[in-house]
Amino acid sequence: MTKYRAKIEVKFKPGVLDPQGETIKNALVNLNYRQIEAISTGKLFWIDLEAKSAKEARESVREMADKLLANPVIENFEVEINK
């Protein structure tokens, strides 16, 4: 077994309104950062786990994200596996 650290990024699907992102964008534009086109918010999770291979680690983390970490109705996720 090898120790891995998985990084899971959960973000809103395109087209899903992100009220926090909108508000933060307005605040930054008010601070004169007028070059901003869009801001979206999301969640980051780090999971330390043991697995036989990076592939196995990725598969189990994807399952966790599908089941609990992300809500597939409004969110997408990306998984990154590191040793």
Partner: protein
């Protein structure tokens, strides 16, 4: 008729629901602990409002994996009557018993105030006692009540008359001003395809006696109690 009110860690409308049912004298009522799996032979299951599991991750996301939710899912799939109020509605969405998801309120604030509801479908076991000529007054109290579903789901809900409640003003107009949270099409409550699972953000259990400002919530409980 026996009502069962599920108590999650962080539920805070469980006692309100208990008292509403007792005071309306529409049946027996008991609490059901989330860690148990027995539904105690109840005919109607209520998932109350509150902040189950501290609203960690997403509202309702963790509560849906409570031991009792397995039983509630089985009960609902066999046609058992289930009502989710506020956090209870969020749990039903996370559990997949109702379609869609909740986002943060459009204004990012916790909204706690009285609103009016237009009852769009009065042929359901939840709404048959609702008067046709008035709009129901009851409170909302939530920060994630901004209902979202994809276009296909919204169309299906509309065509099958499953949008049960919409936020409206005192005259029954459904408009942006009457929408407390940015919810799509002012949706406040929906029902499943089979008509036995209802979810709504407003709190009928907090509007069952006039001293609280409204007793319109009783229509919902009295409808259900008709069997």
């Amino acid at each position: 008729m026996k009502f069962g009110i599920v108590v999650f860690p962080g539920s805070n409308c469980d006692f309100d629901a208990y008292r509403a049912i007792k005071d309306l004298k529409i049946g027996d009522v008991q609490y059901l602990w989330h860690g148990e799996s027995s539904l105690g032979g109840c005919d109607v299951i209520i998932l109350p409002g509150g902040f189950s599991y501290g609203d960690y991750l997403r509202s309702g996301a963790i509560a849906r994996f409570s031991p009792i939710m397995k039983s509630v899912l089985g009960f609902a799939r066999k046609g058992g009557t289930v009502i989710g109020v506020c956090n209870g509605f969020q749990i039903l969405l996370e559990a997949g018993l109702l379609p869609g998801a909740m986002r943060k309120n459009l204004g990012l604030r916790f909204v706690c105030k009285d609103i009016y509801l237009k009852v769009e479908n009065r042929d359901l076991k939840f709404t048959r006692r609702c008067p046709g000529d008035t709009y129901l007054k009851m409170p909302v109290a939530h920060s994630e009540g901004n209902y979202f579903a994809d276009q296909a789901t919204i169309e299906e809900l509309t065509e099958t008359n499953r949008i049960v409640f919409r936020y409206c003003d005192q005259q029954g107009n459904i408009n942006e001003q009457a929408n407390p949270n940015g919810s799509l099409h002012n949706i406040a409550g929906i029902v499943n395809r089979e008509g036995n699972v209802l979810g709504l953000m407003p709190h009928p259990e907090r509007a069952c006696e006039m001293i609280l400002g409204s007793s319109d919530g009783r229509y919902l409980f009295e409808s259900v109690a008709e069997g």
